[in-house]
Amino acid sequence: MSSERTRASEEQMIYANILNYGMMIGFVILTITFLLYVFGAFNNFVPIDKLPNYWKLKVGDYLYVMSQIEQGKDLEAAALIQKCKNEGGKSEACKEIYEHGHKMAGWSWLKNISKGDYMNFIGIAILAGLTIVCYAAIIPTLMKKKDTAYLVIAIAEVLVLTLAASGILKSGGH
């Protein structure tokens, strides 16, 4: 039993409770959507038996192939990727791969949310977004306590995590 001295602070308990429920919701949703995915309850964006052909690709090429699947041109994608490889990283072929692939990055999974494979991102996004909610929830308590330093830290963390989640920050690819 925790005594008064060793009891966690009010904001710590708020954080812990939200984390607890959010984590359980995220896990349950991820497990359910994954089972629906593997048992084929919904149509998938990428045919599940073709997936082993794509998971070896670098992410930039993978996204490009995804963009071509959307247009029914996935088999032609190989030629362009090979061309990019042969011509070096700054060729027109590589630029095209990057530009098309980029359209499949960020929050674009939402437009395919009805597909079995993309549905899994709901649970993943809940798990990845939970910390932002926890931080936002302790801000009023920190304000009430006039804990200025930690209030600034909490707001800054919400901004940092929101920036990461926003999809604005993109890697330059390979």
Partner: protein
């Protein structure tokens, strides 16, 4: 352990190049474009080919079994799941390292999210200690993730191998201090980084402070970058800095480190996710496998011999680190 090694050996053999099945145009895509930006075949890690005769569910099933075993070993060896996951899955499975690191971060994140509520409620993890550290580590992890996704894969493999071998060195050499007796410095005093927790093993309430706050916080810039770059989680680095450098009690350091991963890995995980490097077919079985393995690991913990397990984990990391290094150098494909 024996089962894990057998699975990895079988996996590596199965994943080795096998002629593509005739009449499947998609397999041509895989075999033609696999790793197309590699500078040279030696450096490009041609590695296992996805065109093996294994059905689509074969690798995810093996992944589930291996992550289940890793979950047990992680608990018994006192390490996070991510540090075992990335080098082992990256070294012995056909998945691209981009997806392995994305999944590694999700695995570490899931473990931290699951442990966080209990640690916070028992006041073992300290929000006051974690918040300033997390702001620095999570910002740095974003930078690390972006660097990691932009670098050529052989460079990442070499750096990953070097880092894992460095972690082995830390595990072998770093000491620990159950109750460091330090005097709070000005920065920690002004931020109010202090606390009291109930130490059940001695039946006392333990008061704690931290010192060397500024250099300690600075260390988390490096830790954050490495966590984001390699998708490792960073408990292996968090604990020595919090405990040995800043002077937090060992239990508080371990618990705060675990909780801290939920914040650091969140920022990096979003970068991987927004750059397309999160594959549900890898993430879901990995998370479920490692969570179930952790539950079993906790039950075995009471009967296990911790020293023997620690040596097993060190051996496994050494093997996986060497594999990553040699794979990156093109010596062991």
């Amino acid at each position: 352990m024996l089962m894990l090694v057998t699975l990895l050996a079988v996996g590596t053999a199965l994943a080795s190049d096998v002629p593509a099945p005739a009449g499947d145009p998609h397999s041509a895509l895989s075999s033609t474009v696999a790793d197309p930006h590699a500078a040279a075949p030696a450096a490009g890690m041609p590695g296992p080919d996805a065109t093996s005769s294994m059905p689509w569910w074969g690798w995810p099933l093996i992944l589930f079994v291996v992550t289940f075993i890793l979950g047990i070993l992680a608990v018994l060896g006192g390490v996070g799941g991510g540090v075992l996951y990335v080098p082992i899955i990256g070294g012995f499975f056909p998945f691209n390292l981009d997806f392995v690191r994305g999944a590694g971060l999700m695995v570490a994140l899931a473990g931290a999210l699951a442990a966080g509520p209990g640690l916070l409620k028992r006041n073992l993890a300290s929000l006051r200690l974690a918040l300033p550290v997390a702001l620095i580590a999570s910002s740095s992890a974003i930078v690390g993730a972006m660097i990691g996704l932009a670098l050529p894969q052989n460079v990442v493999q070499i750096a990953l191998g070097g880092t894992i071998l460095g972690i082995v060195a830390i595990m072998l050499m770093a000491g620990k201090s159950d109750f460091p007796n330090v005097k709070a410095d000005k920065l920690s005093q002004s931020l109010g980084i202090m606390g009291i927790y109930r130490e059940e093993s001695i039946g006392k309430d333990v008061e704690w402070n931290v010192h060397k706050t500024a250099p300690g916080l600075a260390m988390f810039i490096i830790i954050g970058v490495m966590a984001g770059m390699f998708g490792l989680g960073a408990g292996w680095a968090n604990v020595p800095v919090l405990n040995l450098m800043m002077g937090a009690p060992l239990k508080v350091s371990v618990a705060t480190s675990k909780f801290l991963l939920s914040i650091t890995d969140t920022s990096a995980a979003w970068i991987y996710m927004n750059n397309g490097a999160v594959l549900p077919m890898m993430v879901a079985p990995s998370i479920i496998g490692i969570m179930l393995g952790s539950i079993v690991g906790v039950k075995i913990l009471a009967k296990a011999k911790p020293k023997a397990i620690k040596w097993m984990v060190i051996g496994l990391l050494l093997f996986a680190g060497l594999r990553a290094l040699l794979k990156g150098l093109g010596i062991w494909k």
